[in-house]
């Protein structure tokens, strides 16, 4: 059974001890805001050192790349964005990494990324075409250092055979019928965003007064809650959850890929708004084989490879000619589909200042501890 996508506790806990780097990470100097190192040419310059969430691309696609280009793909995994960042900050060298948008901002600001010349990618027009959102996304001006990978949405999944009173609102995470069988994602950004949307606040709010309200809302949910967990797929499959705060692709995998009877599961994108975020491919500045990495990214942009990956991961890849295949995959649960136009919204997780992150963390800690 595949573990939940973003929550991946399995990897998370196992790697927990190893993701904390040595003291090289503790430093006092301000990171550089140097210009991007020039893009590499797309040609084989060694084996590919690949750094991603576990189980995140179809194995057949990775195998195909190795055979076509005669290189090996050496895979390492991370369990969290913090873990990924800590490894990079400690100086580990990888050729291609898959950060969530706000981490692209951070890595780029700190001079940790190499430029990616779109002209080197034969399939660049699949993501960078006239009018594409990704020509100039909020997290990377001009997509100079990143290429879009997947997009995802957060909403509410539920068991139609157990719960009949869903309303299309985040309030469904307080559903009486499912009291004691409701799960909220064990994720600071997602949990705070859910309460913020319910209150009509910005998903990134760090305003102390608003955070107090968010805390009250989340604590009021505890009477209904079974647990905080990011293992959304397994909690649903095992029957522990009747209503689950969950990620769109995890839901689709659960419904289309695992469930005996898909009609007993449904998903909604709440009316108050839902967090929509995206992941990207980046090449670290210290990559030893940036040329192979360029080829790899180009290879993943081929529509047929994107389709294979989508059928494995159940998250949409914003590759133009592959999007119809995803719409087809999600046709029974349109709420899991993400139109490119949906990306133009305010509910993205932005890079916050440390004091803001810590204020939010303190609220989240108090909620979980209470």
């Amino acid at each position: 059974m595949r573990a939940s996508r973003r929550g991946v506790l399995a990897g998370g806990l196992a790697l927990g001890a190893t993701t904390l780097p040595g003291c090289a990470y503790i430093r006092d100097d301000v990171p550089t805001r140097a210009p991007l190192p020039a893009s590499a040419r797309a040609k084989v310059d060694g084996d590919l050192v690949y750094f991603n969430w576990a189980d995140y691309l179809a194995p057949s696609v990775v195998k195909g790349f190795q055979e076509e280009y005669g290189v090996k793909v050496i895979e390492s995994n991370y369990d969290s964005m913090e873990g990924m960042y800590a490894k990079l900050a400690a100086g580990n060298q990888y050729d291609v990494v898959f950060p969530i948008a706000k981490w692209v901002v951070k890595l780029r600001q700190e001079g940790k990324l190499r430029a990616i010349d779109h002209a080197e990618l034969t399939n660049a027009d699949q993501v960078f075409y006239s009018g594409s959102y990704f020509n100039d996304p909020w997290y990377d001006a001009g997509s100079q250092a990143s290429v879009p990978f997947t997009v995802y949405k957060t909403g509410v999944g539920w068991r139609t055979d157990r719960v009949s009173t869903m309303t299309g609102s985040w309030k469904d995470l307080w559903n009486d019928e499912a009291r004691g069988r409701i799960f909220t994602l064990d994720d600071q950004d997602e949990a705070l965003a859910m309460a913020a949307l319910l209150l009509g606040y910005d998903v990134n709010t760090a305003d102390p007064g608003e955070l107090d309200d968010i805390k009250d809302v989340l604590i009021s949910q505890k009477d209904y809650l079974r647990a905080y967990s990011s293992d959304d797929i397994n909690n649903m499959v095992a029957g522990d959850a009747w209503v689950h705060h969950m990620w769109s692709g995890d839901f689709l995998y659960l419904r289309q890929g695992l469930a005996d009877d898909p009609t007993t599961f449904d998903f909604e994108s709440p009316s108050e708004g839902a967090p929509i975020n995206s992941d990207a491919y980046v090449i670290p500045a210290n990559a030893r084989h940036p040329g192979t990495a360029m080829l790899f990214i180009d290879y993943l942009l081929r529509p047929e490879n994107a389709v294979t990956n989508m059928n494995y991961l159940y998250y949409p890849f914003p590759v133009k000619d592959a999007l119809p295949a995803f719409a087809d995959l999600a046709k029974d649960v349109p709420a899991c589909n993400i139109e490119l136009g949906d990306l133009e919204n305010e509910n993205v997780f932005r890079l916050l200042d440390t004091d803001e992150v810590q204020r939010r963390a303190a609220v989240w800690t108090e909620v979980k501890a209470s």
């Binding site: 503790i26 079974r226 647990a227 095992a238 522990d240």
Partner: protein, 296 residues
């Protein structure tokens, strides 16, 4: 550690002096290892507990007591007490499980003793995490146990997961072997003629056990209690995988500071604070047992 003491005691002859220096050399490597990987990392944590986080999210050294003021918080105290309670429950339940198991193997295992001990130890070679996931599969609402209960008509299903009991159960399952082994070792060493003597002195089996066997194996129980208590108190896996909305433990709190919270200095201060509290408890415990040992 005992070898060092022996060396100190027998310094009279040349031969034992040589042995002492040999032991000294042999100890150099583990000492270097401990200093490099244990003492220095502890020192880093202590130093960082006075640190701060830069605006770019990097932990940095400083001379601030803000983290220690921050951990003086009602919510954290409550968490500490909850963790203490879970860890103590784990010790008690582990002892209740471990003692009969160790007793049966040590006194009635016969030639299967080693095989039985191996049967207990081998499953612990599998990752703790994997075993927790197995628990989830067994105990979930539609899991094997509940399916069995429903099929046999015993019950409509029991909510095992996401309760404090599930957390304690996970901890017991994770650490009970640390109780079985020392208790087994002390029972192995037990002179069975003592038990016979106890019976001869008109004790029934219960009184023999309470008056003879149990006191003679106290050291094993104490050792086991310590070995179970410490990892249980700092654990975060069980609460994260098997716990509910209100079973957060100290380990989870510390782990969160190092991950999403982006607050390594606070995490370090929590670690140091917890170690300080544990040291106080431990010293009190050792003094109490030392006194009792002296009475024997």
């Amino acid at each position: 550690m005992t070898t060092v003491e022996q060396g100190d005691v027998h310094t009279g002859t040349r031969r034992s002096a040589q042995r002492t220096s040999l032991w000294g050399w042999l100890l150099a490597l583990p000492t270097a290892w401990m200093v490099t990987f244990f003492v220095s990392s502890m020192a880093l944590i202590v130093m960082l507990s006075f640190g701060r986080t830069t605006n770019d999210g990097y932990p940095a050294f400083a001379a601030s007591t803000a983290n220690y003021r921050a951990i003086w918080n009602e919510v954290y105290l409550e968490l500490f007490l909850r963790s203490l309670l879970y860890a103590l429950a784990t010790v008690v339940i582990s002892a209740l499980i471990a003692y009969p198991v160790a007793y049966a193997i040590a006194l009635h295992g016969g030639r299967y003793k080693n095989a039985l001990i191996a049967a207990i130890v081998v499953p612990f070679f599998a990752s703790y995490l994997v075993r927790m996931y197995a628990w989830k599969a067994l105990l979930s609402d539609d899991g094997l146990v509940n399916s069995g209960l429903r099929a046999s008509g015993i019950s409509d299903g029991v909510t095992f997961l996401n309760t404090p009991w599930a957390v304690v159960g996970g901890l017991v399952y994770g650490f009970v072997v640390f109780m079985i082994l020392p208790v087994y070792a002390s029972l192995e060493r037990l002179d069975t003629s003592l038990i016979e003597a106890g019976k001869d002195l008109y004790h029934g089996p219960v009184r023999t056990f309470v008056g003879v066997t149990l006191p003679a194996t106290r050291a094993g129980l104490y050792g086991g209690a310590l070995l179970v208590f410490l990892p249980a108190l700092g654990d975060f896996v069980s609460a994260q995988l098997l716990g509910g909305a209100s079973t957060y433990m100290m380990g989870n709190l510390v782990q969160q500071q190092f991950a999403e919270g982006q607050n390594w200095p606070l995490g370090s201060a929590l670690t140091v604070g917890m170690m300080a509290a544990l040291t106080v408890l431990m010293v009190a415990y050792l003094r109490a047992t030392a006194t009792r040992g002296g009475e024997r």
